[in-house]
């Protein structure tokens, strides 16, 4: 009963915040909507007993990704200028597309109830977080993806530093 209540509240907040994130013309408000929506997902992760992911969601998404987005909103704001109206005149089509997609998804969930779907493999008992950690360092598990993810992060770091820093250098040299 409590979980149902929490689910309904979190889901409602999540959807409203997501709508704010994509509809608001003030980008700072939109970014706040995104943060709330990401946080709502973290709450749902707790309900789904994915505790590690809930923490990771808050730390990575809310803590790092959303903050980066807010930073770039600040950095790309023209001084003294408003963002103005950024909605397409085609919004009725947007509404139509959203409606069609929603109906399709509703039909899908009606035609196939995931609650009765059977797992492909047998469940393994044990504490989920401990098993997650073990799988990430197990050569018979997911150690390769784990290491690849670290290479990807290193490459992204090099790339971002190059673009942000090397770019400034290149600009200076062309100004001279």
């Amino acid at each position: 009963m409590v979980t149902t209540f929490v689910f309904v509240v979190a889901a409602a907040v999540l959807l409203v915040a997501a709508l704010i994130a994509v509809l608001k013309n003030n980008l700072v408000h939109a970014a706040m909507g995104l943060v709330v929506s990401l946080f709502g997902t973290a709450v749902l992760f707790v309900l789904l007993e994915a505790y590690f992911l809930a923490v990771a969601q808050v730390v990575i998404y809310v803590g790092a990704i959303a903050i980066l987005i807010v930073f770039s909103i600040m950095l790309t704001r023209r001084v003294g200028a408003q963002w103005g109206n950024q909605t397409n005149p085609t919004w009725p089509f947007a509404l139509l597309a959203a409606g069609v997609l929603t109906v399709l998804f509703a039909l899908m969930v009606r035609g196939w109830n995931p609650d009765q779907a059977l797992p492909a493999a047998e469940a393994v008992p044990g504490d989920v977080t401990a098993r997650l950690g073990a799988a990430l360092v197990n050569p018979g598990g997911y150690v390769v993806p784990f290491e690849v993810a670290s290479v990807l992060l290193l490459a992204a770091l090099i790339g971002a530093v190059y673009v942000a820093w090397g770019g400034r250098k290149a600009e200076k040299s062309t100004q001279r």
Binding site: F52, T76, A120
Partner: protein, 100 residues
């Protein structure tokens, strides 16, 4: 316990919001945020399925998606800021340097 189908439908709604926003908004930062919403929708579906099937892979998938999202955002925002420096706009209509 809340049924899995509720989560799946919620994820679908979230994906719809993101996908439609990508198609109909002009500001690239908003488009970027909408893409994050789409990734988030997929993550929610993965975790819900992982609970339904009592399988770990769904949760692991989400862990890797978070890493990828972080990398993508770091690179993406660096490029957005650079493009703003040269064009003084981040609207998609301002991207007209390249055409045949």
């Amino acid at each position: 316990m809340v049924p899995t189908s509720f989560y799946i439908f919620l994820a679908a709604l979230l994906f719809t919001i993101g996908a439609v926003a990508v198609l109909f908004r002009r500001n690239t930062l908003v488009i970027y945020m909408a893409v994050e919403l789409m990734l988030n929708a997929a993550n929610l579906a993965f975790v819900a399925f992982a609970r339904q099937f009592e399988a770990l892979d769904g949760q692991l998938f989400v862990f890797f998606v978070m890493t990828v999202a972080a990398a993508e955002v770091a690179v993406g925002l660096a490029l957005i800021v650079t493009i703003f420096r040269t064009k003084h706009s981040v609207d998609i209509d301002a991207m007209h340097e390249l055409k045949g």
